[in-house]
């Protein structure tokens, strides 16, 4: 497939592995921010092929995973209502709330629908004026422009029966929170290419300066990741800490200004709770005053709902990168993609699910058995 196969070439990959090996003189710890990158790394076994000492920590960039439990519970409370069509991206449906998930609600008769674009939810609202259509707006800066467009479109069509349950989060504040943690081991970041395609990378320059940490804007294909790792390792070896762009075919320094305008018009920056991490100041998007009428939380009176995480789940440590899934006592036993306790086991982009699906069962058996 054009524009994909070129970035999966085994011979070029071997060459990049060799270059990384040649560049490394001491151990380094890198974090890939985005769940899509984690997915590629684990599926291709890239982390296990890196030279000794180059360690990848999997970051908090899975939108499904960082959506707080109480927001899932709010979604469930809204979806239970008779008058509601609850529309969501597919992989939010299996995320467990405190007592059930959206798939099980659907089996009991709730009108829960998978949509592929938030504009599909607006279309349902236009077609069914007798129903309240609620879209579950989750994700990072990547999905924010499309979700903003959905609100603008509903506004343009004058649809009183459309609203959004918003759980939008932003990458730079999360990176800062990780770097501020006393047990932080991250020495360089691979920033998420898609996020930067929207936002550009100017926001990352002060982070690189202040924490003296290399940040490489990186794509999602195997060769993108290898090149991103190589660029980060070279910076570390040289003692540099700059923002570099590996994903030049998609990302410009200033990003996509039209997409940014749409986000700014519909959303404002506010504090957000991250599942497993807690509240990070200024790390999320909420609807601006102009569009507050489209907020599903007050409309369905779920704003006060709170929830408690499963005690065995170490999702917070996983998302911060301080522990790996195989460190968890529930991993692979109590907690599997079939019976997930925490969100990182749900989405294919979640670190726990990525590990599990790649057959990483327990530390000793995994690699030994596979080799």
């Amino acid at each position: 497939m054009k524009y994909v196969d070129e970035y999966r070439d085994p011979a070029l990959a071997r060459h990049l592995f060799a270059e990384i090996k040649a560049a490394v003189t001491q151990p380094w710890t890198l974090m890939e921010v985005c769940g899509g990158q984690t997915h590629t790394i684990v599926r291709q076994g890239i982390d296990e092929l890196l030279p000794n000492g180059v360690r990848m920590i999997h970051g908090p960039g899975c939108p499904v995973c960082v959506t707080p439990l109480e927001l899932i519970d709010k979604a469930l409370a809204i979806a239970r209502r008779d008058e509601v069509v609850f529309a969501s991206y597919g992989d939010m449906l299996r995320v467990p709330g405190s007592d059930t998930d959206l798939l099980a609600l659907r089996a009991r008769g709730a009108d829960v629908r998978v949509v592929y674009s938030p504009l599909d939810a607006v279309r349902i609202a236009a077609d069914r004026p007798d129903r309240e259509v609620v879209f579950f707006a989750v994700g990072f800066e990547t999905t924010a422009p499309a979700n903003a467009m959905a609100v603008l479109r509903a506004h343009q069509l004058g649809l009183p029966n459309f609203s959004m349950l918003v759980s939008h989060v932003l990458v730079p504040p999360a990176m800062t929170a990780i770097l501020d943690a006393p047990d932080c081991e991250v020495q360089a970041f691979l920033a998420a290419g898609h996020v930067c395609a929207v936002m550009g990378w100017t926001q990352y320059e002060p982070i690189a300066d202040r924490y003296h940490v290399p940040i490489v804007v990186t794509g999602f294909e195997p060769l993108d990741l290898l090149e991103g790792i190589l660029m980060a390792v070279r910076q570390l070896e040289d003692g540099r800490a700059a923002v570099e762009n590996q994903y030049a075919r998609a990302v410009r320094r200033s990003g996509n200004s039209e997409a940014q305008d749409a986000i700014r018009r519909v959303f404002r920056i506010g504090d957000r709770a991250w599942r497993g991490i807690g509240t990070i100041p200024g790390s999320g998007l909420m609807l601006t005053e102009e569009f507050a009428g489209y907020d599903a939380e007050p409309r369905f009176a779920v704003a006060g709902l709170t929830a408690r995480e499963h005690p065995a789940c170490i999702a917070g440590d996983i998302l911060r990168g301080t522990r790996v899934p195989t460190d968890c006592s529930a991993y692979g036993t109590l907690c599997t993609p079939r019976t997930p306790l925490g969100a990182p086991m749900v989405s294919t982009e979640g670190t726990c699910a990525a590990f599990y699906n790649a057959g990483r069962r327990v530390p000793s058996a995994t690699t030994a058995e596979l080799r």
Partner: protein, 353 residues
């Protein structure tokens, strides 16, 4: 190292799932296997629990090895690029019979029709059943029609039952795979599932892709004539895709399966659809290819023979059967890494970004 949580018990089956059947129970993955194991098979007596689950069964009658299979078709939409529910119902059952190394002899067809369903569409489907059966050289000999009230069915469901006779020299079962065997795949994968999803959700790929639905019994007959008992397993990777089929073989034969990512052939538009939707082509349904596990000494010759047939032009050597990691399928990735290829858990859910 199981840490039992007193608040949930050691076996954390979510309550809601204990009460209701989920769509994921029909996906052909782990949930489907659990439904069979826990609900369907135990009701059939102890002998049923002992047998390896297959899509068709051999019944010996007066010295003849007869093969029987039945399948219900509920595809939505009823018409899609490359086929329709009628054609699919014929091909699906013809192929299930064929995968036992058999030649299909006769079909029975049952239609469950929702009140209000347009007669013109029903005609299109019945004509398609007739045409597909004629093209496959199999007679539809009996059947049934039922009409249910509005809302009690989604337009039209079709059930076909196939009856056939095992070819002389054929003896295949998922349990017969053994270390050293070669895994062959007769064609490119992923076309059927992505076509259905794209058409159902109007995603816009349908202009470029079409279902691969086709009868495979002629290919099977040629393979059996060529290699006989050196063919140990034949399976068509329908729901749950190639990943589920290989996992079922690994589990039934208590062997490991190793495949090469470089050998997996996915047509470019199908690969593009899967990339965009976040689907793994190995989990996507096929209706026109088969997986064969064969003895190593005949593998190359058989592969060449398969490639000379119209159904198998793009056949590949996908991998091999090994003693290591029994019950598990491992893939050598393009990058030189290794990963386990698991069964689909439940419903295939497109991911966010």
């Amino acid at each position: 190292m199981t840490t039992a949580d007193p608040t949930r018990g050691a076996c954390p089956v979510p309550l809601a799932e204990a009460e209701k059947v989920l769509l994921g129970h029909g996906s052909g993955g782990q949930l489907s296997a659990e439904l069979l194991r826990d609900v369907v098979v135990p009701a059939l007596g102890p002998a049923a629990a002992e047998t390896v689950p297959e899509d068709a069964a051999v019944v010996a009658v007066d010295g003849l090895d007869l093969v029987i299979s039945t399948d219900a078709f509920v595809v939505s939409p009823l018409f899609f690029p490359g086929g329709d529910i009628g054609m699919l119902a014929v091909h699906g059952t013809v192929n299930d019979v064929a995968m036992m190394g058999a030649v299909p002899l006769a079909l029975a067809v049952a239609y469950v029709i929702e009140e209000g369903f347009p007669v013109a569409e029903l005609r299109r489907v019945t004509a398609s059943v007739g045409a597909a059966a004629a093209a496959a050289g199999v007679q539809v000999v009996t059947g049934d029609t039922k009409v249910v009230g509005r809302g009690a069915a989604d337009g039209l469901f079709v059930t076909t039952t196939g009856f056939g006779r095992r070819l002389p020299g054929a003896r295949v079962s998922a349990a017969f795979a053994r270390p050293g065997d070669v895994v062959l795949l007769s064609g490119p994968i992923g076309a059927h599932g992505t076509t259905i999803l794209s058409t159902r959700e109007a995603l816009g790929f349908e202009a470029e892709i079409a279902s691969d639905t086709r009868p495979l019994h002629r290919l099977v007959a040629a393979m059996v004539a060529s290699a006989g008992r050196a063919i140990h397993v034949m399976r068509d990777p329908t729901r749950g895709g190639v990943a589920s089929t290989l996992n079922e073989i690994a589990a039934a034969a208590r062997v490991g399966v190793e495949i090469d990512e470089a050998a997996v052939t996915v047509p470019a538009p199908v690969a593009a659809a899967c990339e965009l939707l976040g689907l793994d082509p190995l989990h996507v349904a096929n209706e026109g290819c088969l997986v064969a596990v064969v003895a190593p000494e005949i593998a190359e010759a058989l592969l060449a023979m398969i490639r000379s047939t119209p159904e198998g032009r793009c056949a590949v050597r996908l991998g091999s059967v090994v003693e290591e990691h029994p019950g598990r399928v491992v893939m050598n990735t393009l990058m030189g890494g290794r990963r386990v290829v698991d069964m689909l858990v439940g419903e295939q859910l497109p991911r966010i970004c």
